[in-house]
């Protein structure tokens, strides 16, 4: 196709006939009629005809006219023309059929034999003219020599009318919206008002005081307001608050949107300042628009501009709303985070408050218990003292005194040992029941038996044995009272020292003694567990001993629970090179799941399977906080069979005190 761009396209007419001479005659006449502007070619072979057509169209030339003789024997002439008409590239060509009998075929110009030469020439000229008018009006001058002038003038008139219609529409459109582009707003408005004045013979101006409501949101609108002077506020009231949507952006035409859509007002319109305005009913507006050719343009322009301003204002508002929403979301997130921190702090406060209350209670009870314990202890000593010589007054005084003293002072033996002694003695003396009584009063072999009860009648022996048992029991009971009272006393002491919890900073504290108190108080949990204390030389430190007790309680309690009834709890203390103390609490439990180890110091993390432990719900988190307040560290190393918590404490806490207890 590239050669078409530089080559001027030619116009062709092709003729197909039965005999060469007839065809040549036809070619000559058409060539003459079209003054050589159209290249006319003749064919007697339909294949050559088809080939030539395709080639011409393919190279960019135009086939203007096809003439086929229906007497061509090898070809169905009308069928061939119909076929060409149905093919897109040949469709524009005018099809002429030379016929003997006309059949008024659609899309085909029939020329009936015998035709006059003049008539044929004129027909050819007309058809070529029509082709150029329809398909190549820009090349019209090429056929100026022979063009059908009558036909051309008709076509020209039609085209001219069409053009004028289009231009007037275009002009109207341009007048409407584009002509005034360079005119300032107030000039457009002034023109609009002038036109309204002219159309409605200067309608009445109304003075409206500031604050007057022109339109009320939701109410029907029966007129619009052309504002000449002053400002209108367009507002909406949302949840009792007035939101100003438009102030300077309201424009001069108020109420038109609602009127045009026949809907209630969707904003409140209030006089922001004193106003001068022309109220117009719909009917008046309609009259004005019809009475003035240019009012519509000014009116629409003014309206468009005010709408554009309102729209921009809406976009600005929208952006402001988005900005506000963003800020609100940010503030909400900050608040949520603050709330979460407060809740954590509150939980910790409640926890430490609970501990403090419990501590006071325990300290109180400990104090109250001191008196009865002291009384029991002293009374036991007094009884022991008063009884010390009494057994000697017995007939068998020395023996009784010995039974008493032995029960009081003899180191305890195991139940199995006692049973063995009894079995052995039973073998010797042949009386199991007697052997049992003898062993329990300290007579464990035949020699002792002989010495104590030999050579006696059964009656005397029984009496003496009963007395021995009595003195033995007396000593035993005293011993047991003393040891039980001692244990209570130790417990109370530990309770009190443990419960001095949070009573502020103390100096000269032995860390190990707090650990010992804790171990003693957790004694009931320690059955079945071996406790190994590896205490090194440690400096005394300044600390909050009550709070540290909570740390030891949590760590030891966790260790015990991890071991579930059997294992070894090792507690080590050592001094730090920089001063301060290092404490290790190690258990032989199954270890902490590696996927949990990062969370164990977090709030509320427990692996205790939903079991609630009194006062220890916050366990390790609390321990970590307390150690941190002391300026120390807490770490854990865990593997199956060995879990160790390491706590370091400096020789004194940092300046900042931990607040309260």
């Amino acid at each position: 196709m590239s050669d078409n761009d530089i080559r001027h396209a030619n116009y062709y007419a092709l003729c197909l006939g039965e005999h060469r001479d007839e065809v040549d005659d036809l070619v000559g006449r058409v060539t003459q009629a079209t003054r050589g502007v159209i290249v006319v070619e003749g064919f007697v072979d339909v294949e050559s005809f088809r080939e030539r057509m395709s080639r011409l169209v393919a190279r960019g030339d135009y086939v203007v006219l096809v003439i086929v003789d229906d007497q061509v024997t090898a070809v169905d002439g009308p069928g061939l023309l119909d076929e060409l008409g149905a093919t897109a590239e040949f469709e524009p060509a005018t099809k002429m059929l030379l016929v003997t009998r006309p059949e008024d075929r659609e899309g085909i110009v029939e020329v009936v034999r015998p035709w006059s030469d003049e008539g044929l020439a004129h027909l050819a000229q007309s058809l070529v003219t029509v082709y150029f008018v329809e398909h190549a009006p820009e090349e019209m001058e090429r056929i100026g020599e022979f063009a059908d002038t009558e036909l051309l003038s008709v076509a020209y008139t039609e085209t001219e009318k069409e053009l004028q219609r289009t231009e007037s529409q275009l002009e109207r459109l341009q007048r409407s919206f584009f002509v005034d582009v360079d005119v300032p707003d107030d000039e457009v408005e002034r023109r609009m008002i002038d036109e309204i004045d002219r159309a409605l013979s200067e309608p009445e101006r109304v003075a409206i005081p500031a604050g007057t409501v022109l339109l009320r949101h939701g109410q029907a609108v029966d007129r619009i307001w052309i504002v000449l002077d002053g400002e209108v506020r367009l507002t909406r009231t949302v949840e009792g608050r007035e939101i100003v949507l438009h102030l300077r952006t309201a424009g001069r035409i108020v109420g038109l949107m609602a009127v045009a859509r026949n809907q209630p007002a969707f904003m409140d319109a209030t006089a922001g300042t004193d106003l001068t305005a022309i109220p117009l009913t719909l009917e008046e507006l309609d009259r004005a628009l019809r009475g003035s050719e240019t009012l519509a343009v000014h009116f629409v322009t003014a309206l468009l501009r005010s709408m554009v301003r309102r729209h921009q204002r809406s976009i600005d508002l929208r952006l402001q709303v988005d900005q506000l929403n963003l800020e609100l979301a940010r503030e909400r997130d900050q608040l949520a985070a603050a709330l979460a921190r407060l809740e954590q702090a509150q939980t910790r406060l409640i926890e430490s408050e609970k501990m403090a209350t419990l501590g006071q209670l325990v300290a109180g009870i400990g104090h109250e218990l001191n008196n009865p314990i002291a009384a029991i202890g002293r009374a036991t000593d007094f009884i022991t003292e008063d009884l010390s010589g009494l057994p000697l007054a017995h007939v068998d005084g020395v023996m009784m005194q010995q039974a008493f003293d032995e029960a009081l002072h003899r180191p305890p033996i195991s139940t199995a040992q006692e049973r063995n002694q009894r079995n052995a003695l039973a073998e010797t003396i042949g009386d199991r029941a007697l052997a049992g009584r003898l062993v329990s009063v300290g007579i464990t072999d035949a020699a002792d038996f002989e010495r104590a009860l030999g050579n006696l009648s059964d009656e005397e022996r029984e009496r003496r044995l009963v007395d021995l048992e009595r003195y033995h029991q007396l000593g035993l009971s005293l011993r047991n009272i003393r040891s039980a009272a001692g244990r209570i006393s130790d417990l109370v002491g530990s309770l009190r020292s443990y419960a001095r919890a949070g009573q502020g900073l103390a100096s000269g504290v032995e860390v190990a003694s707090g650990i010992d108190d804790t171990l003693l108080l957790l004694g009931h949990e320690l059955r079945g567990i071996d406790v190994v204390r590896e205490y090194g030389e440690t400096p005394q430190i300044a600390c909050f001993p009550g709070q540290l007790n909570q740390v030891w309680t949590n760590l030891i309690h966790n260790a015990i629970r991890a071991m579930d009834g059997s294992g070894t709890l090792t507690v080590r203390t050592s001094s730090l090179p920089a001063g301060g103390v290092r404490v290790e609490i190690e258990d032989t439990g199954p270890g902490i799941n590696p996927s949990h180890i990062d969370q164990i110091f977090d709030m509320h993390f427990t692996t205790a399977g939903g079991r609630v432990d009194f006062g220890l719900g916050l366990g390790l988190r609390l321990a970590k906080d307390i150690v941190a307040q002391h300026g120390g560290t807490i770490e854990v190393d865990s593997q199956p069979g060995r879990t160790c918590f390491f706590v370091t404490l400096p020789s004194e806490p940092p300046e900042a005190t931990p607040g309260e207890s």
Partner: protein, 166 residues
């Protein structure tokens, strides 16, 4: 007639001494044995079995070194030798859950809270041993003075009557 034993399992010496002494009234009729932990209790029970002594009653502390009293009683329930033994838990520390487990699984017969009163202890021991004697093949008459006499006599006449009937 086989000898019948009362076994006390208690790790704290002072408490054990007191329980054993509180059982003195039964000493003329029953063999009173004490063990300070579960291991020793097992040894003791096998010794008793070897001597053909029946274990009529076990008074067991709950918090024992290395094992809960409940678990030990459950273990004994599974042993032929101690299945019919009356089982009494003596503790101040068992929780409700442990107690329920004890009743359901160990056929715990009674639960004595520390500190106990000797009267209560005597009452419990008396009624439990009466049950044991009645459920055994032993002659009940020797125990009439120390246990629940009227019940034992009723049972004795019942047995005598049955004896004649067969």
């Amino acid at each position: 007639m086989s000898e019948i034993a009362i076994v006390v399992v208690e790790d704290e010496r002072e408490v054990r001494d007191a329980v054993v002494r509180d059982l003195t009234p039964f000493a003329g009729y029953f063999r009173i044995e004490a063990a300070e932990d579960v291991d020793d209790a097992r040894t003791l029970l096998s010794e008793l079995g070897g001597d053909d002594v029946l274990t009529g009653l076990i008074l067991c502390d709950h918090l024992l070194p290395g094992m809960l009293g409940i678990d030990f009683l459950i273990e004994l329930e599974a042993e032929p030798q101690t299945r019919s033994t009356r089982k009494v838990l003596l503790t101040g520390q068992a929780g409700l859950e442990d107690t329920i487990r004890a009743v359901n699984e160990a056929k715990l017969d009674y639960y004595i809270a520390k500190p106990w009163s000797p009267d209560n202890l005597h009452q419990v021991v008396k009624s439990q041993l009466t049950e044991f004697v009645l459920n055994s093949d032993e002659d009940v008459l020797p125990y009439v003075p120390i246990l629940d006499g009227p019940r034992l006599l009723d049972a004795a006449s019942q047995r005598g009557w049955e004896g004649r009937a067969t």
